[in-house]
């Protein structure tokens, strides 16, 4: 059995954060923190151990999710996955993130993405097929090329 993931959620919509937490736990992983703004998010990643952060582009303090992703990626302790209804706002280099789950996602889409990401975090590259609702950044497309 592959070890479950510790996950941080950076999302300003409480409803979506709650629902995502349920999905993450249904899939056998653990949510270790939830932030609604970029300031909170930075504090969380400084104090918590996490494998993965789901980051929305729009937070309570504006379109600051990109900066949060950059910050987390530079710390190199957690991987970042964007979760946004606005994937066009993500820069070409994905601010160091692994990829993006485009909203609105489906339950199965998130479950499949979690399986894929668990493999990618624990034993890269992932062996599962990349789910339809999940796109990889150019860097990870290369690094996780099925081989």
């Amino acid at each position: 059995m592959v070890e479950p993931l510790k996950i941080i959620i950076v999302e300003d919509e409480a409803l979506l954060a709650m629902e995502l937490e349920s999905l993450v736990e249904d899939a056998g992983h653990q949510v270790v923190g939830w932030a609604t703004s970029s300031t909170e998010a930075r504090r969380l990643v400084d104090t918590l151990e996490a494998d993965l952060a789901f980051v929305d582009v729009h937070l309570t303090d504006g379109p600051t999710g990109i900066g949060v992703a950059q910050y987390i990626s530079e710390q190199k302790r957690s991987m970042v996955v964007f979760m946004t209804a606005n994937p066009k706002r993500i820069p070409d280099n994905f601010a160091g993130a692994v990829g993006v789950i485009a909203k609105p996602y489906t339950v199965n889409g998130v479950m499949a993405a979690l399986r894929y990401l668990q493999e990618g975090v624990r034993r890269p590259p992932p062996v599962s097929i990349r789910p339809a609702g999940f796109s990889l950044s150019p860097h990870y497309k290369d690094a996780w090329r099925p081989g």
């Binding site: 909203k103 996602y105 339950v107 199965n108």
Partner: protein, 377 residues
């Protein structure tokens, strides 16, 4: 008339002048030049400062000077404050190179008024190629210049107006695009919220039949979500590839069912439909595939579900076939799913038919697709 000219050839012009004046005979070419309405002069480059040695009456009329005031002087007395130094330099260079030149230059009359002079000047050489004179003609083209200036001013005004309008349109388009993205973003977020609400509600419900209804409702909303996720990904927002979202949709439904014993056979040709038709088509496909999974492969019955998308004769055709348990006749008209499929088919002006496969069921949907749409390849 003594103009201080000493050279023999310069004298020759005066001799013809005199000859003509005296007898009316002489060189017919010289006579023509003297009499023509076109202003003409001859200068002698072999004398210091290349002075005028002959000027016809037309030149005197044009410039307002007497003959005695011009002969013996260099032509530069025609220049004034607004004469373009660049034009003067071009003329000077032509004289130096012994070449002909045709140029518009602003000149001044004796009374100080200015006129546009279409100057033509060329060297006159003897049979050995040695420079003898310069011949120059002048035409007053002030009227042409004025209408040219007007036309240029008109053109500039026009171009400015076009540029202004273009930038207005660009700004309007930008505002429209921004608005579209904003609305799109909200629609997507709200769809996500609706899904989340239904999911959370269903978690708190114990009754299995209510749970199943909520699950069916969630699947329908997720079908809409799948369409919307694809909707503004391409630059063409007005039309939509059925194959793209059917692939996403069916893969997701089959995977979500957790039925590893069911294969999906997707044969999808790209068919573009107007964006407004994408949601009803997605909902129909969702119902048909969900039904096949639920009823065709009830229990542990394994099998394959075939989904074909193609176009022909301006119609989109979607086949959903399974090799499951099959059904007798058309599905019960009472179920909400069936009603939904029938109503949406009517809306799309689609023909839909349930056929008995052997084994299983085949549903065939055929609907018109407008041609000659924007963004069609």
């Amino acid at each position: 008339m003594d103009h201080g000219t000493t050279k023999e050839d310069a004298e020759a012009w005066h001799q013809t002048d005199n000859l003509h004046a005296k007898s009316g005979k002489g060189d017919p070419f010289a006579a023509a030049i003297r009499a023509t309405r076109m202003s003409m002069i001859v200068t002698d480059p072999r004398q210091p400062d290349n002075p005028i040695v002959f000027a016809n009456n037309a030149f005197l009329r044009l410039t307002g000077y007497d003959r005695g005031e011009v002969v013996g002087r260099n032509c530069r007395f025609l220049q004034g404050v607004d004469t373009d130094p660049e034009a003067v330099e071009q003329i000077r260079a032509a004289v130096e190179a012994e070449e002909s030149i045709s140029i518009d230059i602003l000149n001044y009359r004796k009374d100080g008024s200015s006129f546009w002079n279409a100057l033509y000047m060329s060297p006159v050489k003897d049979e050995k190629g040695v420079l003898q004179f310069f011949f120059a003609s002048q035409i007053d083209v002030s009227d042409r210049k004025a209408s040219q200036d007007l036309a240029e001013a008109d053109k500039e005004r026009f171009e400015r107006a076009v540029a202004e309008r273009t930038s207005e349109l660009k700004a309007a388009l930008e505002a429209k695009t921004t608005l579209l993205h904003e609305v799109d973003h909200r629609v997507k977020n709200n769809l996500q919220m609706v899904s989340s609400l239904i999911l959370m509600q269903s978690r708190s419900i114990a009754d299995e039949s209510i749970k199943a209804s909520l699950k069916a409702m969630l699947e329908r909303i997720e079908a809409l979500s799948t369409v919307h996720r694809r909707l503004y990904q391409s630059d063409d927002v007005s039309s939509f590839d059925v194959a793209d979202f059917v692939r996403d949709l069916v893969t997701d439904i089959v995977a979500a069912s957790g039925r590893k014993d069911i294969d999906a056979d997707l044969q999808l040709k790209p068919v573009r439909i107007p964006a407004a038709k994408a949601a009803p088509v997605a909902l129909i496909v969702n119902e048909l595939v969900t039904n096949a999974l639920k009823h065709g492969f009830k229990g542990e019955r394994p099998g394959t579900i075939h989904i074909h998308v193609r176009d022909g004769d301006g119609r989109l055709r979607i086949d959903v076939a399974d090799d499951g348990a099959g059904m007798v006749g058309e599905p019960s008209a009472a179920s909400f799913g069936t009603k939904l499929v029938r109503s949406l088919s009517r809306q799309l002006q689609a023909e839909i038919e349930w056929q008995e496969g052997s084994p299983g069921t085949r549903v065939v949907l055929s609907m018109p697709v407008e041609t000659a749409r924007k963004g069609e390849h």
